[in-house]
Symmetry: C2
Subunit: 356 residues, 2 copies
């Protein structure tokens, strides 16, 4: 039985992506070679990389606006370091919004570089909301935020208006909703939610913000180096990039971000409505900041846990245990999760109510 996979990441990808990726491991593009054994310099793979980069700009409506796209290795956690290396001036400073575990990881790496101003934080409330009304110092080299907080189930709905370059970690909600992406100067995202399998990081950078730090940047951390080499400064993660291309092609085919956004909103509405309606459950995140990707909720009475856990497992659901720092449950509803899977979870919640 195919599972209803609510894993927070790595997470479900479209079934047709699994099938095409599986096939390409046996015979890629009818070449007689596996996608795992071809040179990254081969004509076929160069075409994959180019199409993936160009599809990113098309889907985000960023074509012809001075952005460069990279597919690198290292995860968002390596970008926590690359960002200050490339953007924080010697004796400069950066502004960070502290909305959770991953924002904190980014802050820690930035602090080893220079002055890191935390302009807002919801740490005291265990990150159950997004700080608002914060001020970004006008002399900051950049402002860094995390658009969606997987662990806590919060999501930034309104991004600040500022003249300071905006850097955004969109690992867990990129390609899920319509935004004016041209308001961002640098976007990065680990692939393992809406892009592809774990093992590559998507970086979209407005080229004009680079080269201004007077800092000595190691080659492997230098965005400009990777731009010049078209993401092949060193051997790229061929399979992860190929599978990301398959996922982007699927997204384009079903209608792009505006189409998936409607589906995502439908899924989120179905689940949050049940969380709010069902007397056994309560949501964790502030309503106005609820993520459409990750819904966090708890049972009001912990004694119901054993029965509920048995019931959702029997229904074929997997991956809805909450993160240890929040507890309870977390239902991650990334792009590829079908509406039917959400219906199954909601049915189990209703059945629990009927049984108790």
């Amino acid at each position: 039985m195919k599972k209803h996979n609510y894993s927070a990441g790595p997470c479900i990808l479209p079934q047709e992506v699994f099938e095409k990726a599986s096939q390409a491991i046996l015979n890629f593009n009818n070449s007689g070679l596996s996608i795992l054994e071809i040179s990254h310099r081969s004509k076929d793979f160069v075409a994959v990389m180019e199409e993936a980069r160009s599809l990113v700009l098309e889907l985000l409506n960023l074509e012809g606006k001075g952005y460069q796209v990279l597919f690198l290795q290292g995860g968002a956690s390596l970008e926590f370091l690359r960002v200050p290396y490339n953007l924080m001036k010697v004796e400069g400073k950066a502004a960070y919004l502290d909305t959770g575990t991953w924002a904190n990881g980014a802050i820690k790496e930035a602090k080893s570089f220079g002055e890191t101003v935390i302009v807002g934080s919801s740490k005291e409330e265990n990150y159950n909301h997004i700080p608002k009304e914060y001020q970004i110092p006008s002399d900051a080299n950049y402002f860094h935020c995390t658009s969606n907080n997987t662990i806590f189930g919060t999501q930034i709905k309104n991004f600040p208006k500022t003249n300071v370059p905006i850097v955004c970690d969109m690992s867990s909600d990129i390609f899920s909703r319509s935004l004016d992406f041209s308001n961002f100067d640098l976007i990065y995202a680990g692939a393992q939610k809406n892009i592809g399998p774990a093992g590559t990081t998507l970086i979209i950078v407005k080229e004009e913000i680079l080269g201004k730090t007077n800092r000595n940047i190691p080659n492997i951390l230098n965005y400009q180096q990777h731009i010049t080499k078209e993401s092949m400064y060193n051997t790229p993660p061929v399979f992860a990039v190929y599978t990301s291309l398959l996922t982007l092609q699927w997204l384009k085919k079903i209608g792009g971000i505006s189409a998936i956004e409607k589906i995502n909103e439908t899924k989120a509405n179905i689940l949050y409505s049940e969380i709010d309606r069902n007397p056994l459950f309560t949501g964790v995140a502030s309503k106005e900041d609820r993520s459409i990707m990750n819904a966090t909720f708890v049972l009001k009475n912990p004694e119901h846990q054993e029965l509920f856990d048995t019931m959702w497992k029997e229904a074929g659901i997997s991956g809805i245990n909450g993160h240890r720092s929040v507890g309870g449950y977390r239902a991650s509803m990334y792009n590829a999760l079908p509406i039917e899977s959400v219906q199954v979870l909601v049915n189990v919640m209703k059945e629990l109510e009927n049984k108790i």
Copy 2:
């Protein structure tokens, strides 16, 4: 028709690895989930990571000798940076052996940290041999070398005896030959030759050499951080690690390094014998330093190139064009390349001789 794949990397992997990897994308461990959609914290994947790390120590005969194994992202090029960050003291220095393009990449990153002494170089002879008789300063924090030079077809046969910790980039010949691996203090290797697909880097480090620099090391670059988190400081490249495990299991099954070494020597002997015998060809690298992984050779008469290229392509051979910095041909004979593929190439070389 299945190709005879001589690609320099990413390169051929065992056919059974392709088949198992392909299957795991549809249904991993009969879980009803794809290997691409499971959490890296799931019991099944934690078991994969643990078995992969333990098999590395077993195959290299390093069990119980104080070594830690990591599977990270970033490729060997990121290790060029991690190594000085973790091992070069503030005001310290490191010794490097310059044997080619990749050694040079490592040297460039080290230079941004501190004094980097090049103890030997064959650059003036286009890296056609391995420098010998070099001295390693006794006060160097470490000595760095590249065991096999993919582009130039040279390989270090005798490693220096020194009290300085030895760091070795074994990207293109790890698991191919018997060595006393306990002579090395840190070994790293991009997976995409003898380990698995592009997208993960294997690092084997003697834990006692860490923590001695007094340097502020960013978390993502800190080996100790990754050791503590058992390669899960951030999301690991799940599929690349799993496929690496499959390749290591295959290597163990066929008899480990001593068994594959005999096969590799047989393949190299067949090809080098023909290069030396056939009056149309000549080898590029000095005979005593010839790599058993990558054989570089040229046609004595460039006019024969068109015919030769047509002939090997017709025979189903791919990936033997030389790197642009050497020209001619490069036959990469990694662990998974069957002896029959070498025989096919040698037959084409003989046929060319007969035709001319």
